[in-house]
């Protein structure tokens, strides 16, 4: 396939890639390149499949009791049979995570914004924030149940508590990395502090923000499960706990599998959002 066929005239909008004053063109990957790109994801997919196959073969060959270790096939079929209960519990956990994570991001943005703009708030708040992260979730989760009951609130609070900190730290680092010269330049243009924040400091911190978000996302699932585990009406955590007590190991694994899928989905969602919010970041990375 010739190089020329890879280049397509660019429409008025979109990203122009041109070094000289030559034509503005867009690189259209060929099929072989797409295949090569797909190959990057293949090992990540093959490894879990290989593990499942070995697991299945070992358990059937060694005749392990399903109470100790069920086969992957049994887990999936049992999960399918219990799909209504599985869905009720999954929906509950998803709701907690959605409310908790969105709230966490809002709280983190507000705190980081205030801390960046008011030095005394930053100095006052930082030690307390760090200390708040040393509180063991194991200790605080049962207390949350005592204080706020079995409903949505304690779960949401626990998720916020666990996830907002990495986002705040990432944002503060991002703000602080703003070039001194860029701030000076904007000042000569007559920019106010707030304008400088909006125009330079905040957009410049976006890559950091999304890194913090990805770290928090994994914590969010853990926090939700843990909060439910110690007391809830519904949710994957309490379902795991109940299934364990009734020796339904297959359903415990089923719930774990759902958790893993939720994590991956959340990760993917954040990746898509970051590409949508920062097309410039990815375009620049592709180039060099």
């Amino acid at each position: 396939m010739s190089v020329i066929s890879n280049i397509r005239a660019r429409s008025a909008s979109g990203v122009a890639t041109a070094d000289g004053a030559a034509a503005e063109v867009e690189w259209v990957p060929s099929w072989s390149e797409r295949r090569r790109e797909a190959m990057v994801y293949l090992p990540g997919l093959l490894l879990p499949i290989a593990i499942l196959v070995v697991w299945q073969l070992y358990v059937s060959a060694a005749n392990v009791s399903p109470t100790v270790l069920p086969t992957p096939i049994r887990i999936v079929t049992q999960l399918y049979e219990q799909r209504e209960i599985a869905w009720i519990n999954t929906a509950q956990t998803l709701e907690e995570m959605a409310v908790g994570f969105v709230l966490s991001v809002i709280v983190a943005l507000l705190i980081a914004f205030v801390m960046d703009n008011l030095r005394w708030v930053r100095n006052a708040l930082y030690p307390t924030l760090i200390a708040s992260q040393t509180i063991p979730v194991i200790a605080i989760a049962p207390l949350m149940i005592i204080w706020f009951g079995f409903g949505l609130l304690p779960k949401v609070l626990l998720i916020v508590l666990v996830t907002f900190f990495p986002i705040v730290v990432a944002l503060l680092d991002g703000f602080a990395a703003t070039e001194r010269e860029a701030m000076d330049l904007l000042r000569t243009m007559g920019s106010s502090r707030l304008q400088t924040f909006r125009l330079v400091r905040f957009p410049g911190a976006l890559p950091n923000f999304f890194t913090g978000l990805r770290i928090s996302a994994t914590y969010a699932v853990l926090a939700a499960i843990f909060a439910e585990y110690v007391g809830a009406y519904h949710g994957l955590g309490i379902w795991m706990s109940q299934s364990k007590s009734s020796f339904r190991t297959d359903l415990v694994f089923g719930a774990i599998g759902i958790c893993a899928l939720i994590s991956i989905a959340l990760f993917a969602l954040i990746a898509i959002a970051s590409r949508f919010v920062m097309p410039w970041h990815y375009a620049a990375r592709r180039k060099g």
Binding site: A182, D184, R187, M189, P203
Partner: protein
């Protein structure tokens, strides 16, 4: 004609007895000492001196980013007050924001000044052909070459229509061919818009080629060592560097600078 192609109202700068001292821990470092400096309206003035001598501090004072300890800074006969923004400033790094298209980078100072987005874009669009960037309005800065980025940064400076432009080694990071092109281009822009330009550089040839007047600064604390009028005819093109008068000026400046550099090294 449209605003984009009219000549700017140019203003002169005058610094009298300006000194500035910074605290570095417990040490006080005097950076500027009793500076006398004048740029007439519409004049192209270069400032050269040993690196680290305090040229950029001088700019920050004029741009209102720092306050002098003593002395007066006047632009168009008016003292610069804190909060004034009488100059358009172009730093060595282009500082184009990677998340904004080229045109949105150029319009940024106008938007900060409160002009509506569409109006600002309208005004910027007229400048693109002059700066040879037509067709790159919506491109991201990272797609541009070094010279193109610097032209975009210069456009962002010119669009502010301030009577005085401060250029802090704007071509320092460019390769020599691109640099020469940018120098010619800057003279065109200056000719067209008629700003007063104060230009910091390390490059003696660049200073002579571009300027009406050159100030040579001493090693830290910086004072004005000498002031040279470049009496080469205008319009100049790059062939001027072979003129005998050019060579004379170059030798004179080179000697002065080498002496200052030696003193600078002795103090470090």
């Amino acid at each position: 004609m449209e605003a984009a192609t009219t000549r700017a109202v140019s203003a002169g700068v005058e610094l009298h007895g300006v000194s500035k001292t910074f605290r570095d821990g417990r040490r006080a470092v005097q950076v500027l000492k009793d500076i006398q400096f004048t740029a007439e309206p519409g004049e192209f003035v270069s400032v050269i001196g040993p690196s680290g001598c305090g040229k950029s501090t001088l700019f920050k004072l004029v741009a209102g980013l720092e306050r002098a300890d003593t002395g007066t800074t006047e632009i168009a006969g008016k003292a610069v007050e804190p909060g004034d923004h009488p100059v358009a400033y172009m730093p060595q790094k282009d500082l184009l924001l990677p998340w904004r298209s080229v045109i949105r980078n150029v319009t940024m100072p106008l938007e900060i000044g409160g002009l509506g987005k569409s109006e600002a874009i309208e005004r910027a669009r007229k400048l693109f052909p002059i700066f040879g960037l037509e067709g790159f309005e919506d491109a991201y800065p990272f797609t541009l070459s070094g010279g193109m980025r610097q032209r975009a940064a210069l456009m962002r400076t010119v669009i502010q229509e301030r009577p005085l432009m401060l250029l802090d080694e704007p071509f320092g990071a460019l390769d020599s061919l691109t640099r020469t092109e940018m120098q010619e281009f800057l003279l065109d822009v200056w000719d067209r818009f008629g700003h007063t330009i104060v230009f910091i550089t390390h490059d003696i040839r660049e200073a002579i080629y571009l300027s009406d007047t050159i100030y040579v600064m001493t090693a830290r604390p910086a004072r004005v060592r000498m002031k040279i009028s470049v009496d080469l005819p205008r319009p100049r093109n790059i062939d001027v560097i072979t003129a005998p008068r050019f060579t004379e000026l170059e030798a004179e400046l080179l000697h002065a600078l080498r002496e200052e550099n030696r003193q600078q090294e002795a103090t470090i």
